[in-house]
Symmetry: C2
Subunit: 307 residues, 2 copies
């Protein structure tokens, strides 16, 4: 059951109250691939990198079942670079540097070998490019999950609404949900967004967990209470990778299984933030994931028989 | 199984983005009593009111099984009055008026008829008065739950630490837990607080739910996603009333039952915020509560069999 992932592969330099990272590998598609590769193979990657992107990183992804036929390597330009500084609460950050570099020329082309994929993860990207990928697929995937951000709500709202009509699941954070709908109440915001196209909406609240909305139903997944969050960078993409990775593995896109998939996503995100970049995601085993899933069961499991 | 409640009975005037209330009945002990009276009788109330406190409100409480022998009525002074304005997020508020009035003279006396109570809820109050109540009880209650606030951490920290050594469960919000421990991580803050006396710690996070810590165990209860929060005033006290009310009803103070009790508290709080003051708490039925408990089950219930 192939999973097609579209997004950035890049370099990040991160400052947190706990320290400052080197220039390390990041990018939405990178995090999605590392998280999802624990559940599904092959992963078909569509992205763009520069002449500076490390070969060993590409090989590390390939060894996890990530096919790179769709990753364009630009010989005479550097990779996308982002640098940011997180505040103490780790939910807010200041962007210090954004060098688009090769990303400015990104025009995703779906390789012939990627046709027929059944699960599509559209990482945060120019809405018009997300639409282009959907249109290049001759067979519509069984499930299309889309991430986006406030920047596109300000600079490409019409295109964003256009893509929204084509996807099944939208992933946004709480402030983005409010901005997209002009509603402060997340329940009201969710109802509005579910009229824009997606049948499922996931609102990410960082350390405060995530909400899944579908019709009149709602499901809440907490974030695992952690002693320290070292680096939230990529946690949302890692969440998305765990979510769609579980769905692709189980081939079950029912609301019930999406609940489980959100817990899987939350578990993967809880690993991601334990170290800078993708480091922790490279280390974890199936047993680590199983143990953390059990921790989530214990975290929310209660008995109402006594009430 | 009697429940002894100590705290304020007062008047509030509340401004929210949704409107401004009249001068309405409030106070920590009032909210606790209304919430707990759905689960346990009698409730033994210790508080102080002025000559302006409405008789019909006292009768309403009595009709719900609340014994008022411990409520001192001061003939020549008005009741405690608080006025505040909530910000849009409903988690932050500005205090506009605080008239202590009779509360300045409050010296809680435990009536002989209240001796032998098995559950004690110490509402937010001067720590020295909370201690006085514990010391007046000839038989130590089976469970002592204590609420407090940042004000006492700044003005009576030594007394607060003194009382902490005498209680079983401490209720604070996230910012208070951080202030009490100088730890930003709630997990680290919890570990520190559990060395100060309480064997159980509940950290309330408002719309983001609540955490229960005990030894190395942790449980998370979400807040019910609501279309609108009209008035958060008393939500924490209502949560406390539902929590200890369920424990007193079931006579089971195990960690497992405390998980259920926190969901009961969250359910009661979700009613409280739907209208100004205690209005909604007066209306709800056993069936309303059962249906909301089921909503919490649906909100967090997932299946990991597929993972």
């Amino acid at each position: 059951m192939a999973l097609l992932v579209v997004g950035s592969m890049a370099f990040d330099k991160i400052e947190t109250p706990f320290g400052i990272s080197e220039k390390i590998v990041g990018g939405s598609a990178t995090y999605v691939a590392y998280a999802a590769s624990n559940f599904v193979k092959p992963i078909q990657q569509i992205s763009i990198v520069g002449n500076d992107f490390p070969q060993e990183e590409l090989q590390s992804l390939q060894s996890r079942g990530v096919q790179l036929d769709g990753v364009e390597v630009v010989k005479d330009k550097p990779s996308f670079f982002w640098s940011g500084r997180y505040h103490l609460d780790m939910n807010t950050r200041d962007t210090l540097v954004t060098d688009l570099n090769v990303l400015a020329d990104f025009n995703p082309i779906v390789p012939e070998s990627f046709q027929g994929t059944e699960f599509l993860m559209l990482g945060n990207l120019v809405p018009a490019l997300q639409k282009s990928v959907i249109q290049q697929l001759r067979t519509r995937p069984k499930l299309i999950v889309m991430d986006t951000m406030n920047f596109w709500m300000e600079s490409a709202l019409a295109d964003l609404h256009d893509v929204l009509t084509m996807v099944d699941v939208l992933l946004v954070n709480d402030s983005e949900a409010r901005q997209l709908t002009d509603e402060f109440s997340l329940v009201k915001a969710a109802r509005k967004i579910l009229t824009m196209g997606p049948k499922y909406l996931i609102i990410k609240k960082g350390e405060h967990g995530a909400l899944l909305f579908h019709g009149k139903e709602v499901f809440f997944a907490p974030a695992l209470p952690l002693e320290d969050v070292y680096d939230p960078t990529g946690a949302g993409d890692t969440f998305a990778g765990g979510f769609i990775g579980h769905l692709a593995k189980t081939k079950d896109i029912s609301f019930g299984n999406m609940k489980t998939a959100i817990i899987v996503g939350s578990a993967m995100a809880s690993f991601c933030v334990e170290q800078f970049g993708v480091q922790r995601l490279k280390e974890i085993t199936k047993q680590d994931i199983d143990e953390r899933m059990e921790a989530f069961v214990q975290l929310v499991n209660f008995d109402i028989a006594l009430v």
